[in-house]
Amino acid sequence: MKGKHPEAADRLAPAVTRRTVLGSAGLLAAPAIARAQGAGRPIKIGFVNPRTGPLAAFGEADAFVQENLAKTLAEGIRIGGRTHPVQILARDSQSSSSRAAEVASELILRDKVDLLTAASTPDTVNPVADQAEVNEVPCVTTNCPWQPYFFGRRGDPAKGFEWTYHFFWGLEDVIAAFTDLWSKAETNKVVGGLFPNDADGNAWGDAKLGLPPALAQKGYRLVDTGRFQPFSNDFSAQIAAFKAADVQIVTGVLAPPDFATFWSQAGQQGFRPKIATIGKALLFPSAVSSLGDRGQGLTTEIWWSPHHPFRSSLTGQTATELCDAYSKATGKPWTQPIGYEHALFEVALDVLKRAGKLEPEAILGAIRATDLRTIAGPVKWGSGPVKNVAKTPLVAGQWRRVSGGGLDLIVLANPGATEIPIGGTLDLLR
C-alpha cells in the first residue's frame, strides 16, 4: 500500500531523486493501471503545507491523511470512459511564504498539476493562491480565516478572483463564537486584546473588519495596546494595561510560543483573568500540555473535533473514526487540521470527478458548482460572503484534563452551528 503511493515512496527512499521516485512509483502502479480498462494519464493534485518550521504542527498529519486515502486514490477517477490514477504531489512550504510561492510555481510549471491545493495559515495559502491565479491554474485552499485570505491578497469583493477558491470560517464566526462563550459566565465585559503585527493579528485587530467594532457593538469594552512584533519576549506593557483596566477576559490570535510567554508573564505579574480565549496558539494538544497546569481551562476556537457530526464522502469515516484511526496509526492525540486536510482532498477528488474533462476551465467550472458534504461540514461556493469563499462551521470550547492524564477539547458554544453538540459548561480560570 505504501509503495504504490508516490509521496510515501518519496519519504521512504531519501537517497533517490524525485524523478526516479516518480518513475518507480509509476512502475509500481503499472499493474493497477493495466487492469483498468482504457487507462488515462495520471491526474496530478499539488498540495502545499508546512511540514517543517514554526508551523510544522499543521503538517503533522500530512502522511496519515494521504495514506488514509491511498486506497481511494489507487482506484482512480473515471473521466469520459477512461480511468485516471490520481497522484498527490505534496510539497513542504517550510513555514515560509517565499518557499510556498516557489514550490507552488514548481508544481504548476514543472509538474503541471491539474489542481493546486494548499492549507494552513495565510503564509502558506496566499502565496500558493497568488501563483495559481497568475498562472491560470484551478486552486482550492483551506485552513485560514477567509478575511486574511481574501483581503490579504488585495481581493475586490465586487470582482473576486478567477481561479482560486477557499473554504473555511471567518472572523465574524470567531466573534460570534467567542462572545457566545463569554456570555455563559458573569464578567465585567472588559476584554484585553493581543493582536501581533502579522497576517492574522492585523486581520483580527482590524478597526473596520476585525474584532474591535464587533465587540463594541456587543457591549464589550476592548483594551487594545496596539500591534506588537511577533515573537516578542516581553508582554509587561500589555499586562500592566490589562491590570489597570481590570480586564477579566483575554483574547487574541497568537503563535504558540508568544502565548506561552504572555501566559507565564501574566502569572508572574499577578494578572489573573477569568477567561482566556486565544486563537491559533491553543489548537494543538502539544502546545496546551506544554503550559502544564496553567493550560487547564483555556478556551479557543474549534474548527473541527471528533464530536463534529460529519462523515467523509470518500471513506465514509465519521469524525470520531478518523481521529481514532490517526491516534492508532501515529500514537498521537487528534488535531484539528486532520479533518480539514481530509476535507480538502474530498473536495479535490469530488471536483475532478465532476469536471468531465481534464482541462483547467472544466475543473474550474466543477469547483464553482461544488456542493459536497465533507467531514468538515458542507462546502458550497456561491452563497459565501464573496464569490471565492465557502464557509464551514466554527464553534468554541475549553481544554479540560481527562482521566488518564491527557487533555480534551470540549465544545461549549455553537452559535450558527447548532448541529455540533455542546459538551459541557464553561469553567472559569482560577
Binding site: 531519501p14 517565499s98 502565496p127 493579528g201 486581520a203 512584533q229
Partner: protein, 347 residues
C-alpha cells in the same frame, strides 16, 4: 613582468560570450519551468557575486544584504501598488533607491570592524524589516500580494515568463561584467591591496574608505534590483520573506564559501553546486538542511579557499583574466600581442 592571461582565460571570454548567447536562447530550448529555474539560478549567482565582491575583495563581511533585497522588493511593490507604475520600472528604481539608502547605512556601519561590522549590518537589516512591518500601506507585518491585473500590464503569460527570464539573465551578466571591469580597473588593484592588508594599503595612500563606500553602494544597487525582480515573480511580499536573513544572506554566503571567496568564478561554481543539491535533495525536509551544513563544514575544512580555489590552485585554472602572475623574463614563452599590458599599481 606580470601578466593576467592564462590559456584558460584567453579562451574564457569566447566561452563566456558563447554561453551567454546559448542561455539567451533558452526560451527556445526549455520550457517555462526551465526558464523559471534558470532565472532563479541567475539571481543567486548575481547575489553571491555581489556578496563576494564585498567580502572577498573589499573586506566587508556583511550579513545584512537582505536589507537591500527587501528594500528593492518593497520599492517595486510600493511603486506598482501605490503609484500605479509599471512594475518593470520598479527594477531600476529599486537600484537607485538602494544606492541612496546605502550611503547612510555605510556611514553608520563602516565605523565598525570585523565581526562588529557583520553584526552591525544585520542590525540595520532588522531595522529595515521592522520598518517595513510598520508600513501599513503595503500590508504591514501581514505583507501583500501583487494582483494578477498588475502583471497583465506587462504582457500575457508566455511573454512575461520570457521577459522575466531575460531580465534575470541580463542582470546577472551585467553584475558579473561590472565586477570584472571594476576589478580590472585601478580600483580593482586598490581592492586587492585592501583585501590583503588594509593598513599597508592605507599607508600606501589608497583611499580605503572611499573605495569601500563605492563598492558598498554598487553592491546595494545590484542586490536591490535582483531583489525587485525576485519578488516580482514571487508575487507576494512580507517583511519576513523580503528581509529573510536565511534566504538572502545565509544561502548566499553558503554559495560563496563553497565556491570560493575572493575569486569571481567561485560564486558561479557555488551557485551550480547549490542548485544541484537543492534540486535533488530539497524534498528531504530538515535532512536537506543538515546536508547543506555538512557540505559547508567539509568544504571549509578540506578546501578553505572554496572548491574553485582548490581547482585553481591545483590546475592553475582561471576563467576570467584577473589574477596577476610573475613571469620569468628569460624563459618566458612568447607572449601574444593580445596580452593586456600589465598595469602598474599607481594609486
Amino acid at each position: 613582468m606580470t601578466a593576467r592571461v592564462t590559456h584558460g582565460s584567453r579562451i574564457g571570454p569566447i566561452i563566456a560570450i558563447a554561453a551567454l548567447l546559448a542561455l539567451a536562447a533558452a526560451p527556445w530550448w526549455t520550457d517555462r519551468q526551465g526558464l523559471r529555474l534558470l532565472g532563479e539560478i541567475y539571481a543567486y549567482a548575481a547575489l553571491a557575486s555581489l556578496w563576494n565582491l564585498l567580502a572577498g575583495y573589499a573586506g566587508l563581511v556583511t550579513v545584512g544584504q537582505q536589507a537591500f533585497v527587501g528594500l528593492g522588493a518593497y520599492t517595486l511593490f510600493g511603486l506598482a501598488l501605490l503609484a500605479g507604475v509599471n512594475p518593470l520600472w520598479g527594477i531600476p528604481a529599486a537600484g537607485l533607491i538602494a544606492a541612496i539608502a546605502a550611503v547612510p547605512v555605510a556611514a553608520l556601519t563602516f565605523r565598525l570592524r570585523g565581526a562588529y561590522f557583520a553584526i552591525g549590518t544585520w542590525v540595520v537589516a532588522e531595522v529595515f524589516r521592522l520598518g517595513a512591518a510598520q508600513f501599513s500601506a503595503l500590508g504591514g507585518g501581514s505583507g501583500t500580494s501583487l494582483p494578477a491585473s498588475v502583471l497583465a500590464a506587462i504582457g500575457n503569460r508566455a511573454a512575461r515568463e520570457q521577459l522575466f527570464y531575460w531580465l534575470a539573465l541580463a542582470l546577472a551578466a551585467a553584475t558579473i561584467l561590472a565586477i570584472l571591469l571594476l576589478l580590472r580597473s585601478r580600483h580593482g588593484l586598490a581592492l586587492a591591496a585592501i583585501r590583503d592588508n588594509e593598513t599597508a594599503a592605507r599607508a600606501n595612500g589608497i583611499e580605503v574608505d572611499r573605495t569601500r563606500l563605492a563598492v558598498f553602494v554598487i553592491a546595494a544597487a545590484g542586490t536591490a534590483m535582483i531583489g525587485a525582480l525576485i519578488f516580482l515573480q514571487k508575487l507576494r511580499i512580507s517583511p519576513d520573506a523580503a528581509f529573510s536573513v536565511n534566504d538572502w544572506t545565509a544561502l548566499v554566503i553558503f554559495i560563496a564559501v563553497i565556491g570560493g571567496i575572493g575569486r569571481v568564478e567561485g560564486p558561479l561554481l557555488g551557485t551550480a553546486l547549490f542548485f544541484l543539491l537543492r534540486e535533488s535533495l530539497s524534498q528531504l525536509g530538515s535532512l536537506y538542511l543538515l546536508v547543506l551544513g555538512a557540505v559547508a563544514i567539509a568544504v571549509m575544512l578540506l578546501a578553505p579557499r572554496g572548491l574553485w580555489g582548490l581547482l585553481a590552485d591545483r590546475l592553475g585554472w582561471q576563467l576570467f583574466p584577473l589574477a596577476r602572475r610573475l613571469e620569468p623574463r628569460s624563459s618566458a614563452p612568447p607572449v601574444p600581442a593580445a596580452t593586456t599590458p600589465a598595469r602598474e599599481a599607481s594609486p
